[in-house]
């Protein structure tokens, strides 16, 4: 997966490149709008991360030029201005998503993965499995080591999200938005409590733990040795 980062702020650009590189992406970094446009036109990217305020050519202009020339590559905007108008403008010009600075890095990762996944139309599985945990999406049933586990509807949704995104660190804000439709900075205590209760049902009674807390980042479901 090849990503292009267009960001003029030196530290932000460097950390984004490092962070995304360590997350397994192959990344290029452009410091100005024109450099970004040249790279975007001349190389195939799976996704572009675009800052709004850029020298030479700003994010909006860059995106407009790209779209006019028929480039369909998904674009994720980074904006410091949380003006609603700007968001709408960005999305109208063909941006696929946006993040407001400052943002959590885990949130950025999650958004990038969502965007990259969007294109692929794999047929929906009806049964999800991680290690000895099985989730039947049709019967809405969770089974671990052959034992049926009673989950509330929201607990089931939470578990489903985590299994679908196995191995990805999910920030609390993303969980709140995906499971409870809370699309604003809500009380993150709630996610901690919900996660604790989910763990009490699917992890605590079993020797192998699947849900892990990544401090400062969020939660991840994966098999660890």
């Amino acid at each position: 997966m090849k990503l292009l980062i267009v960001e003029d702020e030196v530290k932000t650009g460097d950390y984004l490149k490092q962070g995304l590189g360590e997350a397994g992406f192959n990344t290029d970094l452009a410091r100005t709008g024109l450099d970004g446009l040249n790279l975007a036109i001349n190389q195939p990217y799976d996704l572009i991360i675009l800052d709004v305020m850029l020298p030479e050519l700003d994010g909006w202009q860059l995106l407009q030029t790209l779209r006019k020339q028929g480039y369909e590559v998904p674009v994720l905007f980074l904006t410091a201005r949380d003006e609603v108008d700007d968001r709408v403008r960005g999305l109208e010009l063909g941006a696929d998503d946006y993040l407001i600075k400052p943002f959590a890095f885990s949130e950025l990762l999650a958004r990038i993965r969502s965007l990259l996944r969007r294109g692929r139309s794999s047929q929906e599985p009806t049964l999800l499995q991680v290690s000895d945990l099985e989730l039947d999406l049709v019967k809405r049933r969770a089974v671990r080591m052959g034992e049926r586990i009673n989950l509330t509807a929201k607990e089931f949704s939470l578990l489903e999200l985590m299994i679908r995104r196995e191995g990805e660190v999910l920030p609390r804000s993303l969980i709140a938005s995906q499971v409870w439709d809370m699309n604003f900075d809500s009380d993150t205590n709630v996610i901690e409590v919900a996660m604790r209760r989910l763990r009490a049902k699917i992890d605590d009674p079993y020797p192998r733990k699947l849900i892990h807390t990544v401090r400062g980042m969020g939660y991840v479901l994966e098999e660890r040795d």
């Binding site: 900075d185 809500s186 009380d187 205590n189 409590v193 209760r197 401090r215 400062g216 980042m217």
Partner: protein, 459 residues
């Protein structure tokens, strides 16, 4: 149109009024003088005719025409500018002191002897006024016709001269009254200058200055009162803003100093990877808190300038509340707090914002409800508003704190201990800003260990 000063405006108006008054006065004077001249002329003419008639009557006994001519010449004519003509009824002229053609109809005069007829006419450039009368003789063939005329040029010359003088006088009077007007306007507007001087002394550091209300005229007093009220509001906002700025500084200082100390301490010697991880993770938590506070403050700053609703739609409020209750369910369960919702109703507004407003209240309610307590929500459709009330058990909030509850960073206990479970201290302010943006209002009551927040949205 350029803005003209009040004094100039008043002076100009005053001058304008003077011009109008003086001009109409002049016109009236001129008119009445002309009338007077006409009356005077005719009276003189009448008089002349009657005198002449008397004279002729006294002569009637046997005087011959030439002697009439003589007598007339000697007695009547010389004294003034009146021209006299005496004709016989048959058309012969007995006497004429000037060569004028009179416009009188002889037959009409002869029909009514002894009655004076009047006329005014032009002959060339000269305007005449005249009078005529028939005088009865011994028989109808010896009737006489007396005519007299007077030239009016002298009046016109006088009137022109008079008009010139009058307008000069009026101009002077107008200028004088304009000057008076200016003085009066200046004097009358003196209280305004006083107010200006007072207003000048109001600065950011001296916002407590007020305009004098008792010592200025009634018309300005209400303005001064209104301005004073404006000053009150400004002072209040300004004070609040000043507090807010220092609050921001304080609120930001604590987490930043935590971050700095922690980072510096950890850099002071080499540590294990786990320790570094711990420190960084704890830093992230502080930073997240800071970041949330900043975005909350930005939201409120925008709300200060009138929050624009990103979208507006009708939705059932109970569905949104139920969704929020579901979100908070786990937290409530942990504290063994029971939450319940009654009622339903449709609301028009921005769903995300309404969610946020209610979420802040719910989060607050859960934080303050003791274990085993109750959080009660009900939606009511009133006549003119839809209300959502959120009540929770918990310590009664002191009455003196209630009005400030929605202020930013306001915490009932003045000691600003940073409790981990506390939010940014902006939640209630945000709730209020959102409700205001929807044209609604939010109120709070607290008594008997029960606190109720009510959001009411007008239909």
């Amino acid at each position: 149109m350029p803005i003209v000063s009040l004094t100039t405006r008043l002076t100009l108006l005053f001058a304008l009024v003077s011009v109008a008054v003086f001009a109409s006065l002049g016109f009236l004077i001129k008119h009445s003088m002309e009338e007077h001249f006409v009356a005077q002329d005719f009276a003189e003419l009448d008089d002349k005719i009657r005198t002449t008639a008397n004279l002729l009557n006294s002569l009637k006994t046997g005087e011959s025409p030439p002697s009439i001519h003589e007598v007339m010449k000697n007695t009547v004519v010389d004294h003034d500018s009146i021209i006299i003509k005496i004709d016989t009824s048959s058309g012969g002229q007995l006497f004429a002191s000037g060569p004028i053609a009179f416009p009188f109809d002889k037959t009409q005069l002869l029909n009514k002897p002894g009655q004076i007829q009047r006329a005014a006419w032009n002959e060339g450039d000269i305007r005449y006024r005249g009078a005529a009368m028939a005088l009865e003789g011994r028989d109808s063939s010896r009737h006489l016709i007396l005519s007299a005329a007077i030239e009016t040029t002298r009046h016109r010359v006088f009137m022109q001269q008079f008009a010139k003088e009058l307008s000069g006088l009026m101009l002077t009077a107008t200028l004088f009254s304009a000057l008076l007007g200016w003085l009066v306007a200046r004097q009358g507007l003196a209280p305004l200058r006083l107010m200006r001087a007072k207003a000048k002394s109001v600065t950011a550091t001296r916002l407590d200055q007020r305009l004098p209300v008792d010592t200025i005229p009634v018309e300005l007093a209400s303005l001064a009162q209104e301005l004073n009220r404006m000053f009150d509001r400004l002072e209040e906002s300004f004070t609040r803003l000043t507090h807010f700025s220092s609050d921001i500084a304080h609120e930001l200082r604590t987490p930043i100093s935590n971050l700095m100390t922690q980072t510096q301490v950890s850099l002071s010697r080499a540590r294990s990877a786990e320790e570094y991880q711990d420190i960084l993770a704890s830093n992230v938590e502080e930073l997240e808190k800071l970041s949330r506070m900043i975005s909350d403050m930005l939201f409120l700053a925008k709300a200060e300038h009138g929050l624009q609703l990103p979208s507006r739609q009708r939705f059932p409020l109970e569905v949104e509340v139920a969704k929020l209750l579901e979100f908070y369910e786990a937290l409530a369960d942990e504290k063994q707090v029971h939450m319940q919702l009654q009622g339903s109703g449709e609301l028009s507004g921005d769903r995300l914002m309404i969610d946020r407003a209610i979420s802040n209240l719910l989060s607050n309610a859960l934080r303050h409800t003791p274990e085993g307590g109750l959080v009660d929500l009900y939606i009511e459709r009133g006549i003119d508003a839809l209300t959502l009330t959120i009540c929770n058990d918990g310590n009664t909030i002191p009455a003196q704190d209630l009005p400030y509850l929605f202020d930013r960073f306001y915490r009932c206990d003045q000691a600003r201990g940073h409790n981990e479970s506390e939010g940014t201290g902006l939640g209630l302010s945000i709730t209020r800003a959102i409700v205001h943006a929807h044209g609604g209002k939010v109120t709070v009551k607290s008594a008997n260990n029960r606190t109720c927040f009510t959001l009411s949205f007008p239909h």
